[in-house]
Subunit: 345 residues, 4 copies
């Protein structure tokens, strides 16, 4: 059994990692840490875990962690991540980092949107953890930068079209809608129940940090510049991201041909489901699962297309994908721990 | 006091008309009808009305209605509306119809999206009831076709740009998100609590009947063809439509200039509020009110723009706008009955 | 026009006071204060108010407030309230305080559940602001302690039975369920969207501070000891309290007789609606209104009864009742500003 | 592998059975039937199942079902159940029936609350499927009547107290609150999103059919009459039942002693978790899991007690318990297929 440490176990991505890992046939959680709840049983912080996992929240003692675990997930905020990941790296332990700190290949982009990077040298060793695009590199990576939730939904929706060069790259609109868990568990006025419930708004219009992350991957895929308009929205639900994308096609296409192209592209992918013609996805159908569902339809006599993707932001958009990356890194069957069917209703 | 009849009072737009009219200083509800609840007190159908309105649901007796009322709202489904509106019209009573039956100037468009029209001759006398665009015509109209909810939010978001010819008309994306009350009160599996809650989906992608309605108004405003991609979404909340629009500008603009243009365009409008630069609207801030809030921001170095509008689909998107139309038609102050502040939280 | 100051205008009860007062025919808001948002337009803090109220959040300058207003609502937390109310009192301005600081007649009870009271002398002049029980005293009161939300729903549900001495006083169970706005606008983990949504729990079981407040009023009504078991619950909705009460009757009764007793007791009350036999209330039917709806049914062959009451915790449970108290104190018609019909759906 | 048929697979308990059985190490779903969706792939009815289960909805062909399966779950409405269960029984196939039809030992009680029973003779062979009370009988039962959702939460909350005879049996109050999935998937006005959301109501006060079911089990446990007041409520959430029970104790007790008694009673139960002193359960912590969490606290100086239990109505309250029963009947480890941790948030 792979002994796994979850650093920062008491946020939403932390508890979701634990929920998933509890079922994993080849991994077991050996250590959980939490600055805020140090010394408390994790099952007191999250009563959902009672009877399933029985660990105390420990402190960030690197030596002890390395001694008692073989693999690390860092589920801490960005900036904190780059303060701790190097300590694991130099102790030769592989890490999947769920923050933004190891997602960017170019430290200047990171600096522009976050802050100066503390360990630029490690960036070149880190791999962007979207298995559908980077599986081979992930296999050997010492550090995997687990993708952001919005980028996961958006990139998977676009990758087949960009790979097949059927889309006008200067002209991509991503209208994304997320549930509230994406904002994390730190108390803020904006994420109070009464501020979110029965409300609906766009936020950080054209200014969200997931914008440059999306662009990095699309540019790499296209090998040329890509223009993206990215507008995220906050929706009154716990989980889920629905991304609706509007693209101009390079030449007229019909829906069924594009769907074939998607089905082929994702043929061997265990977690991408392409909807049959006439259907588009609903986040309710992926809730709690690691699936990304994708549907599409051409518009404007085939001159444009609407693509819709749905993920659970805490699973395929965070902790599920992190476990998928661990599976790839460790040579485990990729679906291990992630076979779950969505909870509907 | 204007005596008002509400035909089809037991749907969501019906009860919303009653909620608003109860406070109206120059109108009183004299008649409510309901096929389904005939003979029942309306306050038994909607206990929210107890102590505020005390009428029995009557049948569709035209002679009695005309005798006991001076003005009619038809809040019945499309198709039913065109079966009853002519009977009021020929009795010389003015009607605001909340269905789709009197919104289209071209009966062929109506036929294509709904069914053959039963009284094409009346269409030419009907006015599309968006006061911000057609106030003068509404004043004298015998029949007002009250706009659809999606069209209200989308047209108000675009009208200033189209009027000022700053936008590329071939290229307008409308990504609209609605609460569940827009689907009405008839029981269907798709609108059950557990089907909507914690779900989020696009539906009728490029096939929604409000698409041609939006186009009709934009084309008239532009006096040339307009290409619209309209994708509605269902969001787990009772009320509200947030529309996010993506447009290409004919020449580079900055945000503040466009906001000025909007502020001027809506300067005298009592129910349109333009958000200050840096802000975009939230449906929570218009819930229960007749306001349409609009914000915008340029993208792509001023080459494109994102516009966001928020309405309450049952108020500005239906019953509030219907009362606003009545006010215009009757020469009442336009805000009468509609001064309410949004219910937040 | 009565010039009204709202001290602490940027919490949920504050914005609700403003929403209601905007429509009041005999009062106008002349001053709003906020420590947190001092200097900001109130309509920037709450965009719902844009175009309806146009004041800057001021500081707590007593002299200025007294100069520019004739009446004060204090919508600040308990403890803060008793620090500011005396300053208004000695300037001869009447106050409705929405905190707990002036609700208790016995300062020792206050001290036991909150902290030592700073101005015990004023307690004797303050009146508990439940107009249905204390209307005459409220009329002349210099200070009104506006009731808690749970007590309002529970006391109104019990008052007729206790007044008529039909109920066993040693044996009253109050199972109350509240929406999240009752917890206020200060960010806490427990009131985050994802903690409340799709959750349901009892909290502060037998330890909630509204327990002794309920007992104070029931004891006064009964003129003898009363035993109450009070368990509040948090429900995933914005507004509303549903209280389900279980009582043992002193002698067998039937439902219709008890309902008559209730109807008579509340006959002249503008804001209490007794449900017809066979019906019990739904918070959805009072949302945004000042009504308290009450239904009941006997159990156990008439030996016991179940009573259900519904209020909007921010209206009849807070700001609406505060305005009702102001109306009583100032000799205004009691329904002024409070005629609104509930927002359904 | 046990081949399992799910009769009536397209309701909420049906899809929940499939979600659970997909993971079961010793069972596989071989047949699903649906009158409404006959001929359709089940993964088209529930896109959440796509890629996980690949069966067509079949018709109710008993011979084929018996040929292709070894075990049957009937997830059809009551009345339908007693029309089909005998056909399986006479073909020697064991059945867990999720309807009410095989829960009552006394056919007259069934008749009083439902309708005349069609196969009274089978009732005597059926076992009430609450493993915590009837495990041994379930092991051999040809037919198991799977308990109702409310009874499961209420009985588990009371069983230790009744077994230990510490509670006054004439005097038990059960205030239960359920999410909307308990009402099933058939479209009704009362379960539309906009009727449930932001609403909260008691319903079927003292008239709910789960009342006599609760009484049957409590009476059997107590071996004497039991008086129950049962009031169910509808709460705006998908899943979960929170039951708050109010009991009078036969002699004074303290909380910790009662908790010990509960912990011992449920010591070997895999799915009942007793909360530590000072804690009460939240439905959010059992969502999607088969756990029943129970907390309690004495009131009134130990003379009374408040007990709170939480279950997921579709899991421990229906399909999870059904699978647990199957495990008991087939001699499988009782937790198989049911190890899942609750989905939080």
């Amino acid at each position: 059994m792979l002994r796994v440490a979850v650093i920062g176990a008491t946020g939403y991505t932390g508890v979701e990692l634990l929920r998933i890992l509890v079922h994993h046939p080849q991994a077991e959680v050996s250590i959980v840490t939490s600055r805020k709840h140090e010394g408390k049983p994790i099952s007191e912080v999250f009563p959902s875990l009672r009877g399933r996992i029985d660990l105390l929240c420990g402190s960030l003692n690197f030596d002890r962690i390395v001694k008692e675990s073989d693999f690390v997930f860092t589920a801490v905020p960005h900036k904190t991540a780059m303060e701790v990941v190097p300590d694991f790296h130099k102790r030769n332990i592989r890490v999947v980092d769920l923050s933004a700190d190891f997602r960017f290949r170019n430290p200047r982009v990171y600096q522009q949107w976050y802050q100066p990077h503390r360990c630029e040298d490690l960036l070149s060793q880190a791999v962007y953890g979207l298995p559908e695009l980077h599986r081979e590199a992930i296999r050997e990576a010492p550090i995997v930068g687990n993708p952001g939730c919005y980028p996961t939904g958006a990139i998977l929706a676009l990758a087949p079209m960009i790979s097949h060069r059927v889309v006008d790259l200067s002209h991509i609109v991503i209208d994304a809608k997320s549930g509230a868990s994406g904002a994390g568990r730190d108390p803020t006025e904006a994420t109070l129940y009464c501020e979110v419930n029965e409300g609906l708004k766009a936020y950080k219009v054209l200014e969200h940090r997931h914008g440059p992350e999306i662009e990095q991957e699309l540019v790499q895929l296209a090998q040329q510049p890509v223009g993206v308009i990215f507008v995220p929205h906050l929706v009154p639900m716990d989980r889920g991201i629905l991304s609706t994308l509007y693209v101009t096609l390079n030449q007229r296409q019909d829906t069924s041909h594009l769907l074939e192209l998607y089905s082929e592209f994702y043929e061997r992918e265990p977690f991408v489901r392409v909807c049959p013609e006439g259907q588009v996805p609903n986040v309710a159908d992926v809730r709690g699962s690691n699936f990304c569902d994708i549907g599409l339809k051409v518009a404007d006599n085939g001159g444009r297309a609407v693509i819709v993707s749905a993920i659970d932001n805490l699973v395929k958009g965070a902790s599920g994908q992190a476990v998928q990356n661990m599976n790839v890194m460790c040579g485990f069957p990729e679906e291990n721990g992630l076979e779950g069917v969505a909870l509907f209703p």
